[in-house]
Amino acid sequence: MKQLTVISGKGGTGKTSVVASLAFLADQVVLADCDVDAADLHLVLPPTPLSSHPFSGGKQAFIETAKCQLCGTCQKLCRFEAVRGPDTQSGSPESGYSIDSTACEGCGVCAHFCPAEAIRFTDAQNGEWYISDTRVGPMIHARLGIAEENSGKLVSLVREEARKLAKKQQRSTIIIDGSPGIGCPVMASITGTDLALLVTEPTMSGLHDLQRVADLTAHFHIPTIIAINKWDINPEVTAQIKETAKQRKIPVGGLIRYDRSVTAAQISRKTIVELDHAPAAADLRQLWDTVAKALFAEA
C-alpha cells in the first residue's frame, strides 16, 4: 500500500482539485482529507456517510462558580490569558471568574492549583471524523470544531483510519489532501508517506512558499514531486520554479495550464478530468502518469 500526500505551502493553489482528479484516475484508492481546517474534498466528491465518530484531542477547564472563592489563583497562574476576571465594571464581583474556551490550551494548571477545587478538567470534544463512500472510493474525513486545536492529532487519526481501511479492503493507494502551511497539521500529513506532491503556482508568493515547504519535506526526508498549477499565468516565474526545483533535485512532474473549466468543474461538483473538454484535464492525466510511476517504483 502506498501513500501520496498532496501539499502546498500556500492555500488556494488547487490542491483539492488536483487530489480529486488524481483520485478519479487512480485505482483502488482510499482518500484521506487531512485539511481538517477547511476540508473541501467533500464538495467535489460528495460523500455518503457510513459512520461518524467524536474526536477528543485534549482537555478543557471549566470553573464551577458555586465553589469558586474568588481567590484569583487561576488567573495568576494561567499563561494563556484564558481566565476572565470578575466583572468589576458593573460592581458585582459575584459574577466571578470564568474561562475563555477559545484561549484555554488545556494545560490543567488552573484546575490543579485551585485551592477550592472549583475547576473541572475534562475531555473536550474538539471535532468529529467520518468514514464515507464516494464515487471514487472510500474517504476518511473530519471536521475540527471552530477555534479548536490539536489538528495535528486529528490529522494523524484520519491517516491511521485511512490506512486501516485500505488494509482491510486491500486497496493499493491512499491519497491524502494535506493542509496549507508548514505547521503541525502539515507535518502530521506528510510524516511517513511515500511521496509528497507539492502543488504550487507561478507567483512570487508561490515561489516563496514552495521554498519553505520543500525545506519541510527535505527535513523529513520525504521524496517530493512538484506540480505547477496555472503555469502559463507567468511563464517567467514558472521557469524560476523549474530552476529552483533543479537546484533542489526535485522533479517537476507536471504543468497544469490556467483553465476556467476548473471553476466550472467545482460548481458542477465534478473532478476536472471528468470534464472531457477541459484543457487542464489532459495535463492532470499526464501528471498522474508521472506520479503513479514514482509512487509505485520499486525502491
Binding site: 505551502g9 488556494g12 471552530i146 508548514i182
Partner: protein
C-alpha cells in the same frame, strides 16, 4: 483601530486585500501598520517590499531540569497534558516542540528542580514600506506551533491609527490568536463552492469570538449570487467586490500591488477603505483616533 483580514480558505486574496489597503490608506495620510501573522507562509513583504530595520529571534520557554537534583519521580511527566516530558528510570526526556510553555511542570515538581530556558521558534522582522509600518513573523521550519509567535509579532506592532492584520488561513488556533483583540474582521472569499463553504466556517468562528465582520468577494464574476445570498441571510455586509481579471492574477504573480498597477482596481479599494472606516464607526471602536 485593529482590522484583521481573514478567510476560511487559503489563496482567496487575504494578502492582496491587506497589502493594497495598507498602501492606499497610507497614501491618504493615515498612519498604517501592516502585520503579517501568516507566519507559516508570510507573503506581505513580497508586495510591500519593506526596508527591514530589525530582525529578531522569537523564543518560547521550555522546562530546564537540573539533573543533579531530579530524582525521576515522574510527577512532571504525569502532569504534562502535551506529552512533552517522558520520565525514564535514569532521566527525564524533554520533547521541546510539544511543550506549550504552561509552566505546570515547574510549579508541580516536588524537588523544585525545574527552571525555564528559552527556545527559538522563529523570527520577527520590523521595517518600513514607504509610509507603512511593517511587521512580519516567520516560523522556523519543523516548528509545530505558530500561536506563540503570532502573539509576539502582534506585540511588536507600533501604535498607529489603523492596524491591518494579515491572518493565516483556516479557523483554528493560529487564526484565533491573530483575531484576538481586533475591532473588525474582513473575510475575503471567492464565489466558488469551496469559497462559500469556507466562508461559512470563518463567519461562524468570527461570531464565536464576538467580533463584527464584513465580506470582500475576490475574483467576482457572474457567479456571486450564492455568496451574496449567504451574506444577506446572515446580515453580513458585503464591503467590496474585486473583479475576476487575468491581468490582476498576472500582476499578483509579479508581486505588484494591483490597486497601483491596474487603475480599474483603485476604485474598489478606495470604496473598501471608506466602508471599513464607516463600519468600524458603527461598532463603537475609537474612531476619533483615525483621521487623515
Amino acid at each position: 483601530m485593529k482590522i484583521a483580514i481573514a478567510s476560511g480558505k487559503g489563496g482567496t486574496g487575504k494578502t492582496t486585500v491587506a497589502t493594497n489597503l495598507a498602501q492606499l490608506a497610507a497614501s491618504q495620510g493615515y498612519q498604517v501598520a501592516y502585520i503579517d501573522c501568516d507566519v507559516e507562509a508570510p507573503n506581505g513583504h513580497l508586495f510591500l517590499r519593506p526596508d527591514i530595520t530589525s530582525d529578531d529571534t522569537v523564543h518560547v520557554t521550555v522546562p530546564d531540569i537540573d539533573p543533579t537534583r531530579c530524582n525521576h519521580c515522574g510527577v512532571c511527566a504525569h502532569f504534562c497534558q502535551f506529552n512533552a516530558l517522558l520520565c525514564l528510570p535514569g532521566e527525564v526526556l524533554l520533547f521541546p516542540e510539544l511543550c506549550h510553555s504552561c509552566g505546570g511542570c515547574q510549579l508541580i515538581c516536588p524537588q523544585q528542580c525545574i527552571s525555564e530556558r528559552e527556545r527559538e521558534i522563529g523570527q520577527c522582522q520590523i521595517g518600513k514600506a514607504g509610509q507603512v509600518d511593517f511587521v512580519s513573523g516567520r516560523l522556523n521550519i519543523g516548528e509545530a506551533k505558530s500561536p506563540p509567535l503570532i502573539h509576539q509579532v502582534k506585540k511588536q506592532a507600533p501604535e498607529t491609527d489603523l492596524m491591518l492584520i494579515d491572518a493565516p488561513p483556516g479557523t483554528s488556533c493560529p487564526v484565533v490568536e491573530s483575531l484576538r483583540d481586533c475591532d473588525f474582521v474582513v473575510l475575503v472569499t471567492e464565489p466558488t463552492p469551496f469559497g462559500l463553504h469556507d466562508l461559512t466556517l470563518a463567519a461562524e468562528m468570527v461570531q464565536l469570538l464576538g467580533i463584527p465582520c464584513g465580506v470582500v468577494i475576490n475574483r467576482s464574476a457572474e457567479n456571486d449570487e450564492a455568496t451574496l445570498a449567504y451574506c444577506n441571510s446572515r446580515r453580513i455586509p458585503v464591503l467590496a467586490c474585486l473583479p475576476d481579471n487575468r491581468k490582476a492574477a498576472e500582476a499578483y504573480s509579479r508581486g505588484e500591488l494591483i490597486a497601483q498597477s491596474l487603475p480599474s482596481f483603485n476604485q474598489p479599494f478606495t470604496t473598501l477603505l471608506e466602508r471599513l472606516l464607516q463600519q468600524t464607526k458603527h461598532t463603537g471602536s475609537p474612531q476619533q483616533r483615525c483621521h487623515p
